[in-house]
Structure formats: C-alpha cells, structure tokens
C-alpha cells in the first residue's frame, strides 16, 4: 500500500531528524527526576472527608453526608425532589441502595443488553459508585469498575448521582495516581476524573454549569460518624 510506505517514510524522517537534533547525547531514559513534592498527605481520615466535601461543594455540586443505613431513604428523597423517573444502573451497583425507591420508577440496566445512546439520552439520572475521591481537589475518579460501568453511562444522563465511601477518599493527587497504576498498566480500562458538573466560562468569562455532560452532580458520602 502506497499510504503505508509513505507513512513509514515519515516515521524514518522524524526519527532521523530527532537523532540529528540531539547529536551526541549524554542523557538517558534512566536519569532520575527529582520528586521533592508531596507524595503522601498528612491529613487524618476525618480531615480528608471534611475537605473532600468542602471542595466538591465549591464546584457547585451537591453533597450529602449519610450513613450506610440512611442512604436508601435519602436517595428516594432526591429522586422525588428532582423528578427522577428513569434511573440508569451500571452492572454491579449495590442493590440495597435501591430498596426504598418506588416501584413506579423505571430502572434502566446496562446488562445483559447494553443500553442504546437514545435510551441513555432520554433517561433522567444515573447512579454509580466510584473508584476514588481526592480531598485536595474535590475530584471523583471512575475507572469503569463494578458499579460504575461504561463511560457513556455517566455522560448522557442529565444528573449524576455518585456514592463514595469515606475510606475511598485520599488526601492528594499523587496518592490517587499510584492507586490507579494497576488500572492503567494492567487492565487498560479508561479513567475519568470528575470535579463538579460540566462547566464553561467561554462567554465573557461568566461561569455556566452544565454544558455537555450531566448538568447536576450529586454526591453521597457514606461516613460512619
């Protein structure tokens, strides 16, 4: 194929140009980068959860601190108040959380048959758990694990309800990146960072929440105290 050979010649060209530009090099890929920045947070578990909540709130997301037992009731209340009738559920979601939701609601399961884009687009909300939370930046991290599902599930519905347990919250970003090591290098699953709802400041720098992703982000934090 002509295209293939052209492409490989571009490849050779680029590699050759780089080799020429670098000349006699002394550097190598083994050179160590000095990482003098913080790698581990000094916050206590309590401080982490407090900071996480504060920072998520600042993004104009809603947060609620609940105990494991309170969650089904709170979820029911949220669905009533927000008028959620069609709720998307990823595989592996904790069924106990749904125990108080009215039978009249439609539950859209993504298995055995994956939901279509249209179904997702016409749903009201999605309920997921998450892989991690980062206190310092108020970030929720998804890695397509059980209870989170495919990326599109948290993208098309208008409201994202996310449940996080206190012990899933780390202090700072380097701690989260380390915990994602396996996801990235072994399973290769996609990773999504979510910090508040979708937003834009493109018009006169006025912040508007909710452009293309979910317009509302509601976070339940399960903590024991």
């Amino acid at each position: 194929m002509v295209e293939g050979s052209e492409m490989s010649s571009s490849r050779d060209k680029i590699l050759q140009r780089i080799d020429q530009a670098l000349g006699n090099r002394t550097d190598s890929t083994d050179d160590v980068v000095e990482r003098r920045y913080h790698q581990i947070s000094e916050l206590t578990a309590q401080e982490k959860v407090n900071l996480f909540q504060e920072r998520v709130d600042e993004y104009k997301a809603a947060t609620e601190r609940v105990s494991e037992g309170e969650l089904p009731g709170k979820l029911k209340k949220l669905c009533e108040e927000a008028g959620i009738k069609k709720l998307v559920l990823p595989p592996g979601i904790d069924e106990n959380w749904l125990s108080e939701l009215p039978k009249s609601m439609t539950f859209l399961h993504d298995e055995p048959q994956p939901l279509s884009k249209t179904q997702l687009n016409e749903s009201d909300a999605v309920l997921t758990n998450c892989f991690l939370g980062v206190a310092q930046t108020g970030t929720i991290i998804l890695n397509a694990g059980p209870g989170q599902g495919r990326r599109v599930l948290t993208l098309l519905p208008d409201i994202h309800i996310c449940v996080i347990r206190q012990d899933q919250i780390v202090g700072i970003l380097p701690e989260a990146i380390r915990k994602l090591d396996q996801t990235v290098s072994e399973s290769g699953a996609p990773v999504t960072f979510i910090s508040g709802p979708s937003a834009t400041s493109d018009i006169e720098l006025d912040r508007v929440e909710g452009v293309h992703g979910p317009r509302k982000l509601h976070v339940f934090i399960i903590s024991e105290s």
């Binding site: 108020g138 909710g210 293309h212």
Partner: protein, 475 residues
C-alpha cells in the same frame, strides 16, 4: 501557508490596540484568570517543587524523544490503537482525511485542539467534503462566525454576549434567544447533542501521552471532550510529538500544574484518560497521529528546545503586558502571547517575516517565566531568537538590509560603545549638538529617523558634566 503572507506584529498591533471593546474584553479576562490563578497556586506549598519536577520530566523527554516515541508506538499498538507518523501538516491532513473516508463519514465531531488549528485540518477536510464540527463552546462560536481564536484557553474572549446571541440566532435558526450566558450555552447544548449522538468519527488533540502505558489524556471543562472521545465508533487523536511523558506517575505532576495554571482551578471538571481501545466501552477504533510539523527544528536549537516543554496552559498570556493590550489576533498565529512569540518563529522558520517579527513583541519583563508551570525561560529564548533574526537578516537581507537605518544605527552604537575614548568623544559631540533640541531640561523631539524614538518618549540630554568627568575633576 505561504511564507510571509501575513502581516508582522508591528504592522497590525496598533489597529488592535485601538479597538476599545477588544481591549476591555481581553483586559477583563486576563486580570480575572490571573488573580484566580494566584490564589490556587498559593494554596500549594510545594508548587516550586512541582514546577521543577515538571521541568525535569520534560527535559528528559526532549533529550530522549525518539526513544519515547518508539515506546509510545509500541504501547499504543499493544493496547489496540494504530499509530501514524506525520512529518508535516500536509502529511497529517492526508492521513486523517483517508481515515475518515474509509469510514465513509462526512460528519465529524471535534474537541478543541490547537494542534489541529496549527495544521488547518478543518479547511483540509472541508476541501474533501468533510465537515468537522467544533464542539467546544468558544470554538463553535469562532467557527460559526468564520473567525480566528484569540486566546488559547478562551478562544472567543474577543466576542461579547450580544454578538454571540446574534450569531446563534442566525446560524442555529433560533427565533427567541436571550443574551444570558446560561441560555446561550443551553442553545449550544441542544444543537451539539444531536450531532454527538449521530457522529461516527471523533477528532481530538491530546494533552499528554504516557510512553510507558500508551495512555492518552484530554483535559477539559464542558464535557464535549468526553463526548467526542466516548461516543463515536472511531477516534482520531492528533498529538504533537512533544506531548509525551515517560511514565504514568508523571501525570500526578502535570495534573497539578496544568489546571491551576490554566483555568485557575484546583482541578478542571473533566479529565479523560484512555489506553488504546476497550471492548464495549467507547470507540472501537483508535488512531493516534504523531505530528512533527517543525517541532524537530525546535529540538535542533539547544536554547530554543525548552519551548517544547510547553503544556499549553496560557498562564503566560494572562500576565503579559503586551498580550493584554493587543489580544491574540495581532500575533497572526494559533499560538499567541509570549509562548507564541517563541514557538511560532521556531516552527515556521525565520524566512517567514510575520513569525520573525514576534520575538520583538515583548518588553522582556519576565512575568511569563515566573508563572510558567514548567519553567520555560521565555525571555532567554526571546533574546536568543532576536539574535538569530538579526543574523538571519544579515545573511539573507542583501543591500536593503545593509542600508537599513536601524541596522546602521546599531552598528554605529556598537562601535561607539566598544572603546572608552570613542564613547566619551561622542558624548561631547552630543552635548554640543543637543542645545537646539533641548527644552526645559529634556529632549522631546529629534529629527529624521530619530523622531520615531521621541514620538513616544522623552530623552534625557547629556548632562553639563558627566559622572566620569566629575570623578576626574573632583579634587
């Protein structure tokens, strides 16, 4: 683009400065982001350590760029992606056009990407009957208006809400629309959602690519990046070869540096990291186009090489006294501001007179260096490039260059300053000749070519007695 087909910075800067609306918009934007950035950067007591780590990582990448590119090619292929190499814009555009034609696609959705603006991809696709729809709100505004972006982060900052309202009403066929940003964003949401759902091909840039794992990152706010990298069956990502980082661990450095420097947030709303393809989740075909397009020229210059460390945060634009007054259009490049002033001439070469004028679009105040999250010494590179521009003009300029008044004046001054006796003799001559121009102890008007200098500033006359003379005579 033809060499020198565009005006120099000096030729049009004045026109932009006179546009009061533009200056107000840009001034407001840069000040707001600048102040916010300061607050979120102050929060981190290890900011300097992060900057230093960022610099070192990028330096390591540049010094081993070929090895990391080969490693990336391997890891992306292993993860199910296809890697293409593009030596220049034409190469890249042809590869992308063919990929889209293979898919029989005519509608393509795009995430904001300056790299694809650099290679004029949209135009190349349009010529082949393929419409690439910009999905970032500001890029959509710019595209609908047939305009050019004016800021890296907020490309439509030169337009106000009333203008955007009129634009949307006519282009999106809307009868009723207020000029509230929330309503305007809603109009864009509805229009774009339809297109996201039916698009077969998505095109994106990439903020980072991890050589070790093949993971590519898109950092964004609106969710259009997630849409484009998740919904279509085929994803094509155009990546400048300098965007590589060696290991996944390096992401922890850049994901702290970039959001705080760019949108001045602790973290921007959405970041997507994908590694090749994943069965049942997102695009099942992933193409990564590695783009050179002049980057290896930058690598070839040891002082200029650090320009490739840039992570496109735009912090340097927001602190630049020159950018703040002229806005981005005066730079006639997709890379405006201080970073553009050093990147554009190196990418395009000094034969391009528009690009070669950019190293002079600076007061050398150094604010850009101070805020740069990866410590690019922009003033150093600016001076280095000015020197290269002069040498280049000397070599290529011929007779016209040799008789250029600035060139002659500089030559004259160099001679005058090179010897003490010559300098002192010149001072004496100046003192004798200046009486005619001196009024109230200052010189406000000089004749001929020198009048340009005094048009915007006064000159201090040579004093009755210079310091050296006083020192000699003090006994």
């Amino acid at each position: 683009m033809k060499k020198g087909s565009q005006p120099t910075f000096e030729e049009t800067a004045g026109t932009y400065i006179e546009n009061a609306q533009l200056r107000r918009n840009i001034g407001h934007a840069t000040k707001t982001i600048r102040d916010k950035r300061q607050l979120v950067v102050q929060e981190l007591d290890d900011w300097e350590e992060l900057r230093e780590a960022g610099r070192q990582i990028k330096q390591k990448v540049m010094n081993n760029l070929d090895r990391y590119l080969l490693q990336l090619e391997k890891s992306v292929s292993k993860a199910g992606g296809v890697v293409h190499w593009a030596a220049d814009a034409e190469d890249a555009n042809r590869i992308i056009t063919n990929l889209i034609k293979e898919k029989k696609g005519t509608d393509v959705v795009k995430v904001k990407s300056i790299t694809t603006d650099e290679i004029r991809l949209n135009q190349a696709l349009e010529n082949e009957g393929i419409h690439a729809l910009e999905t970032d709100l500001a890029e959509l505004i710019v595209q609908l208006a047939g305009d050019e972006p004016s800021h890296i982060l907020v490309p439509a900052i030169h337009k106000n809400r009333a203008e955007i309202r009129e634009l949307f009403k006519s282009k999106l066929n809307l009868k009723e629309l207020s000029d509230e940003p929330a309503d305007l964003a809603e109009a864009a949401r509805l229009y774009l959602r339809k297109n996201f759902l039916k698009a077969k091909v998505g095109i994106s840039g990439g903020n980072f690519a991890v050589a070790e794992t093949g993971t590519v990152a898109v950092v964004e706010s609106e969710g259009n990046g997630r849409m484009c990298t998740t919904l279509p069956d085929t994803l094509i990502t155009v990546l400048g070869i300098e965007k590589i980082v060696p290991e996944w661990k390096d992401i922890e450095v850049f994901m702290q540096l970039l959001p705080r420097s760019s949108t001045a947030e602790r973290m921007n709303p959405y970041n997507t990291f994908w590694t090749g393809t994943t069965e049942g989740d997102g695009p099942q075909k992933f193409h990564l186009v590695l783009l050179d397009n002049g980057r290896t020229n930058v690598l070839d210059d040891e002082t200029g090489r650090q320009t490739l460390h840039c992570i496109r945060c735009s912090a340097c634009l927001n602190v630049c006294p020159v950018y703040e007054r002229t806005g981005g259009h005066a730079y006639h490049s997709v890379y405006p501001g201080p970073i553009g002033a050093i990147l554009t001439p190196q990418l395009r070469g000094l034969d391009d007179r528009s690009a070669a004028s950019l190293p002079y679009a600076s007061s050398l105040c150094g604010a850009c260096y101070e805020v740069c999250p990866v410590k690019i010494n922009i003033p150093e590179v600016l001076l280095h490039l000015r020197n290269k521009v002069v040498l280049h003009q000397k070599k290529e300029g011929g007779f016209r260059q040799k008789t250029d008044p600035v060139h002659l004046a500089m030559k004259f001054l160099a001679r005058a300053f090179s010897k003490r006796s010559r300098y002192e003799r010149l001072q004496k001559m100046g003192r004798a000749g200046q009486w005619f121009y001196k009024k109230d102890g200052t010189i406000s008007k000089l004749p001929g070519q020198l009048s340009k200098w005094t048009a915007i500033r006064d000159v201090k006359p040579v004093p009755e007695k210079t310091f050296r003379e006083w020192w000699r005579d003090r006994k």
